[in-house]
Symmetry: C2
């Protein structure tokens, strides 16, 4: 267990909150905040959320980002983290230090204070949990349940790249290739933290896309008691994904149902459309209006001629 003491030492500098005592006690106090605080947690499992030969540095980054994504989509800024590590003794120690370095780099990038955690052995694969606390940008997090009929449906960033990146990894592309799709799978490219204030200012309902755009849109529609109509050709794709699409290597519907994109899906009043575009540009946030909210239930996808497209599997749960 000596390596775990080493890890604690390597992580201690990330702990600036007095109540965390540099991770040297059994508990931390929660940092004081004038704002309403939210809490969220996600677990990444070897062989389920990342491949065994994915670089541990990027796995550490991904662990931070899948949680940051939840905070941002709910209009909160992440502030503090708890980190739980279960590590098999038969993996090289360099893998462990790379994991910690990637985790540390991303916590610093997002200005997140590490306030506690736990390290254990594992008799099998690596299991990682991060729990994030964040400050709401207004009096409550923006929920899945607030979408209103006639709202616009918006998505940040681009869709489909992580799904194609995983396909490439599974077909043998090495993780250190310069392929931007592989990079998007390894380290989800998130919007800047200022997206949280955009969501706070305009969104009626919001959530992060992580299980696939259509599946997550279905969750939002269900919680809001509405139907979401999505125009297939308005969904923004990464240039490399577009290339695969034109080459007939993938169907667009697969990109919309693939997972791991970590963008924000939100709805807002159509009267705010221009304000949202301007506010997003001012924050370096990429947004695209991809559809509208209607009475009813479920998600309806239409092609460029307005014809409905049947989605057989809305979301995609990977177990490699």
């Amino acid at each position: 267990m000596k390596e775990f003491e080493l890890i604690r030492q390597r992580l201690a500098h990330l702990s600036r909150h007095d109540g965390a005592l540099q991770l040297g006690d059994d508990v931390s106090t929660l940092p004081k905040s004038e704002k309403i605080q939210i809490i969220t947690t996600d677990t990444l499992v070897e062989g389920v959320h990342f491949l065994s030969d994915d670089p541990m540095y990027t796995v550490g980054q991904k662990l931070v980002r899948v949680n940051v994504s939840d905070c941002l989509a709910k209009a909160a800024r992440p502030t503090s983290a708890m980190f739980n590590l279960s590590w098999p003794s038969n993996r090289p120690e360099t893998d462990l230090t790379n994991l910690i370095d990637g985790l540390a780099a991303d916590l610093e990038f997002w200005n997140i204070d590490l306030i506690g955690g736990d390290t254990t052995g594992s008799q099998s694969g690596v299991t990682l949990t991060l729990t994030l606390i964040g400050d709401c940008q207004k009096s409550a997090p923006v929920r899945r349940s607030g979408a209103q009929v006639e709202d616009d449906v918006w998505i940040t960033g681009e869709i489909g790249s992580a799904f194609l990146g995983l396909r490439r990894r599974l077909s043998g592309v090495t993780p250190n290739s310069s392929d931007p799709l592989v990079s998007a799978f390894l380290v989800p490219p998130l919007q800047p933290v200022a997206v949280s204030s955009l969501i706070a200012d305009f969104a009626h309902a919001s959530m992060d896309v992580s299980d696939g755009l259509i599946a997550d849109a279905e969750h939002l529609a269900e919680q809001s008691g509405v139907s979401l109509q999505i125009e297939l050709d308005r969904v923004p794709l990464h240039a490399a994904a577009n290339k695969d699409l034109r080459a007939g290597l993938v169907e667009k519907v697969s990109l919309l149902t693939g997972g791991d994109d970590y963008q924000v899906l939100f709805t807002a009043s159509p009267t705010d459309q221009e304000l949202i575009r301007k506010a997003a540009a001012a924050r370096d946030v990429s947004v695209t209006c991809i559809g509208s909210v209607q009475a009813g239930s479920g998600v309806k996808v239409r092609d460029s001629e307005g014809n409905p497209i049947t989605i057989l599997t809305s979301g995609w749960q990977h177990e490699f």
Copy 2:
């Protein structure tokens, strides 16, 4: 993944805090509290912290208790929990429902509100994380670092039973035997929640014993910059452990260095000795004074004649 939706439904009734939205959104708000709040987390791994054929019901209880133990030792009352589950698809669904039932029973017993979590698959064993938030009984948690020279050293409950329970399990005793030592390994018997106010009122330094009494005493001594002297014959043992001891089946030193006991080790002023005994009795808390704090460093153990006893391995990290 449908079973995970089932699990969410089974857990939803444990979520009473409005901000948790019955676990139906991506984040929960943190419950408001007038008190200083602490946060702590522990992970349990199959084959490391519990045996693969331990009953899942008791594993669920143990997950709650190893975290509650940290709260109580720091003079806090647990209030809210996040639960992360990584579950292999090849285990029977009855194991999963038993786990959830045991977790739910213990959360209800300790009056803890479930406010969030994550469920994932696993390609290997079961990994469980619980993160607890608690209310401090005074303005700050009681730390490891406050021990003062001439303080008494106290321990709650009894020591050594979980270690012997694990030994019995590993030698083939089934978990459903009525052996109290096996029970103490499966479900750590904690002090009542009122121990937190006893610690708040009297303790200068405090921590829970979980890695072995001597190893944890060393941590407390180090953080406080003092030496702890422990009188071997004053350490209280479970009756069944005493029986093993008299039969020569185990050495007392092994019991002091075994893990998994989950009692509270604390120091307090010797002038408070009688007050502590009375306050403990009024709270149904079992306490024993087992030594004193002295200048210096490290832990010194003495036998009944005052002779020093050499401890070769202070703590015991089990990997089965």
